[in-house]
């Protein structure tokens, strides 16, 4: 994707899988390849790096980039447990460097529109939230690192629902406390179902529900439904629907609907979805300008804190767990 943007070229790749490197070299003869990221960082003069590795390696590779002062975009989730990222947070606070975490949902047209509406505050005081993220993909025991808790950090909550949690903090601000329940069915080490009641610092409360083992969801499907004193807002992967009791802040009374084609913005090159293009372009432009991006390690750390709190709460029978503000 990065290579498709006019402002960037992919010049090197590191991966311990020799087969993959050989395949890349056959197709991209000018690409420098390494079996170790440290070796690549030592040998190449890089303007930026993209880190796509199993969750438990994200922080270590990010720290290596920080040591070499190479701005980085790291895949989500940030790490298996929030505590794993504290050193990274400290280093970035001591010597700021452009960094981003790959919650590309912030660049999906419908969710951008939803954010705009929340920001414009036509709903007035927000009262209640209900949201979900489902996909039908796991109906037997899964294989690979995603189902090993030490490497992945958990199951559907961290692997997929972290996108929804990122949306929630982006829309409604930080979460203050949670009460959670998780359930394993097909998996042994990680959860296949998660349910949490959330209390935001703003006073908004509500619940989320998530599973990767619900049939008839061919692709991941998010729904965010928030009720305010003046109306309701529903944001899904397909559309944004707003209802207001009367005209407020430039939005008309009654129902307003925006569907995907209404909101579509083309991109210079689309590889698997315009949101990836926008995410990469935002990062590269920020690197070029020496700027920070909003979806960074600090904000991803908060997502991680919420995930940890849900697991902790579930282990304690659903007890309310308050999230510390140590970020």
């Amino acid at each position: 994707m990065v290579n498709g943007l006019k402002s960037a070229d992919v010049v090197a790749a590191a991966d311990p899988a020799r087969d993959l490197l050989q395949a890349l070299q056959q197709s991209m003869p000018n690409l420098a390849t390494y079996e170790d990221h440290e070796q690549m960082l030592a040998s190449e003069s890089l303007d930026a790096a993209v880190i796509a590795a199993p969750n438990d390696l994200h922080v270590a590779i990010s720290l290596a980039c920080v040591a070499k002062r190479v701005p980085f975009l790291v895949e989500k989730p940030l790490c298996p447990r929030a505590a794993d990222a504290r050193e990274l947070l400290l280093k970035l606070a001591e010597a700021p460097l452009t960094n981003a975490v790959g919650y590309m949902g912030r660049h999906v047209d419908v969710f951008v529109k939803g954010k705009q509406i929340v920001q414009d505050q036509p709903l007035g005081k927000l009262v209640h939230l209900r949201c979900s993220m489902y996909v039908g993909q796991l109906f037997k025991r899964g294989k690979g690192w995603r189902y090993e808790k030490d490497k992945s950090g958990g199951g559907v909550l961290i692997t997929q629902n972290s996108h929804l949690l990122d949306h929630l903090q982006w829309y409604f601000g930080p979460v203050e406390w949670v009460s959670g329940h998780v359930k394993s069915w097909h998996s042994t080490q990680v959860e296949d179902f998660a349910h949490a009641y959330l209390g935001f610092k703003s006073g908004l409360t509500g619940y989320l529900d998530a599973s990767w083992s619900i049939r008839h969801y061919r692709t991941p499907e998010i729904s965010i439904d928030v009720h305010g004193e003046n109306g309701t807002l529903t944001v899904t992967d397909d559309a944004v629907r707003l209802f207001l009791d009367r005209e407020r802040n430039g939005y008309p009374a009654g129902w307003s609907t925006w569907r995907k084609p209404d909101l579509y913005r083309p991109v210079p090159i689309d590889v698997g979805g315009p949101e990836y293009t926008r995410q990469d372009a935002e990062f590269i432009n920020a690197v070029a300008a020496g700027r920070m991006v909003a979806c960074d390690v600090r904000s991803a750390y908060h997502v991680q804190q919420v995930i940890d709190a849900v697991y902790e709460s579930s282990a304690a029978g659903g007890r309310r767990v308050v999230i510390s503000g140590d970020a």
């Binding site: 290579n3 395949a23 056959q26 899964g142």
Partner: protein, 301 residues
């Protein structure tokens, strides 16, 4: 390159496999409706009776069932040209995240249950396959095309996610391999789906690939048209690309009448893929195409 007898109207597979890019709820409804292959066959027969002679088929897990059902109706089978679209990308994306693309392909080969029919076994088996990306791709193509092996395959489209990735990474060699493999081994037209038509036209021109058959989006609201609707329209007018268009209703956002008035008002259009899920919808669609496209249905029937 380019097909001289490209079918004007091609039946799309998305409704049959529960794919809807505008509404996931609608996708689930259609998935339920077409769980029974008989429902798919009924729609295919209805389309055939209305002049449609081409059918797009993704390599969705249910593709084998549909292909078998077509084989059970020889007259229907004989009247249809099949246009496979490979691979069924959702399967690979999900699994590649977990075990890497090479292992996904190896698992596909092992799971196909037809190992001895695959040429990779004659060239040294898995060990060789693992080290050679070209062999991986040839084998992947073989595995993906197995459900269609004795059907009348006219062209084989590479999924837009792979075409566009290849364009972004400027992997000319991969395109050359695909062009050669599909034409030589399958005696079909190698074709490409893309969401970046002008970029594809530019790269293919630079690489010397003439008059490619391309499956891409054209619709009056510019949905999935990159870098812009205007740039795609310009490319259509100025390049030698043969176009089969998809998404002309912008995934159901547009009514057939307004959609096809725009589409066939363009300087040219070679072929259109239509997705239909009910007889009434099909009748409305075919009638609207006929109203705005003088090339159909006369030349297709």
């Amino acid at each position: 390159m380019a097909l001289s007898d490209l079918d004007r109207v091609v039946l799309g597979h998305n409704p049959f496999f529960g794919v809807d890019h505008l509404s996931q709820a609608k996708a689930a409804e259609r998935d339920a409706k077409f769980q029974a292959v008989d429902g798919i066959l009924e729609m295919v027969r209805f389309a055939r009776d209305n002049g449609v002679r081409g059918m797009m088929m993704s390599t969705h897990p249910r593709a084998s069932l549909v292909a078998d059902a077509l084989r059970s109706d020889p007259p229907l089978l004989d009247s249809l040209n099949i246009y496979p679209l490979l691979p069924y990308i959702a399967k690979y994306v999900r699994q590649s995240n977990e075990k890497g693309l090479v292992n996904v392909v190896l698992d596909q080969v092992k799971g196909a249950g037809v190992g001895q029919t695959l040429s990779m076994f004659t060239r040294g088996g898995l060990a060789v396959l693992r080290k050679d990306v070209q062999e991986i791709l040839r084998t992947l193509i073989q595995v993906e095309l197995l459900p269609f092996r004795d059907l009348r395959v006219k062209a084989v489209f590479l999924h837009d996610a792979l075409t566009d990735l290849g364009l972004a990474l400027e992997m000319r060699g991969i395109f050359e391999l695909y062009l050669e493999e599909i034409a030589r081994r399958y005696e079909a037209e190698p074709a490409f789906a893309t969401k970046n038509l002008p970029l594809l036209a530019e790269k293919f021109r630079a690489w010397g690939f003439e008059k490619p058959l391309v499956l891409t989006h054209f619709n009056k609201v510019g949905f999935n048209m990159n870098p812009s609707r205007q740039a795609c329209e310009r490319c259509l007018a100025e390049s030698d690309v043969q176009i089969m268009t998809m998404g002309s209703l912008a995934s159901g956002y547009l009514k057939p009448d307004e959609a096809y008035r725009y589409l066939f008002g363009l300087p040219r259009m070679d072929s259109v893929v239509v997705g239909v899920s009910t007889r009434a919808h099909a009748e409305e669609t075919f009638a609207a195409i006929g109203r705005y496209w003088s090339a159909w249905p006369a030349s297709a029937a």
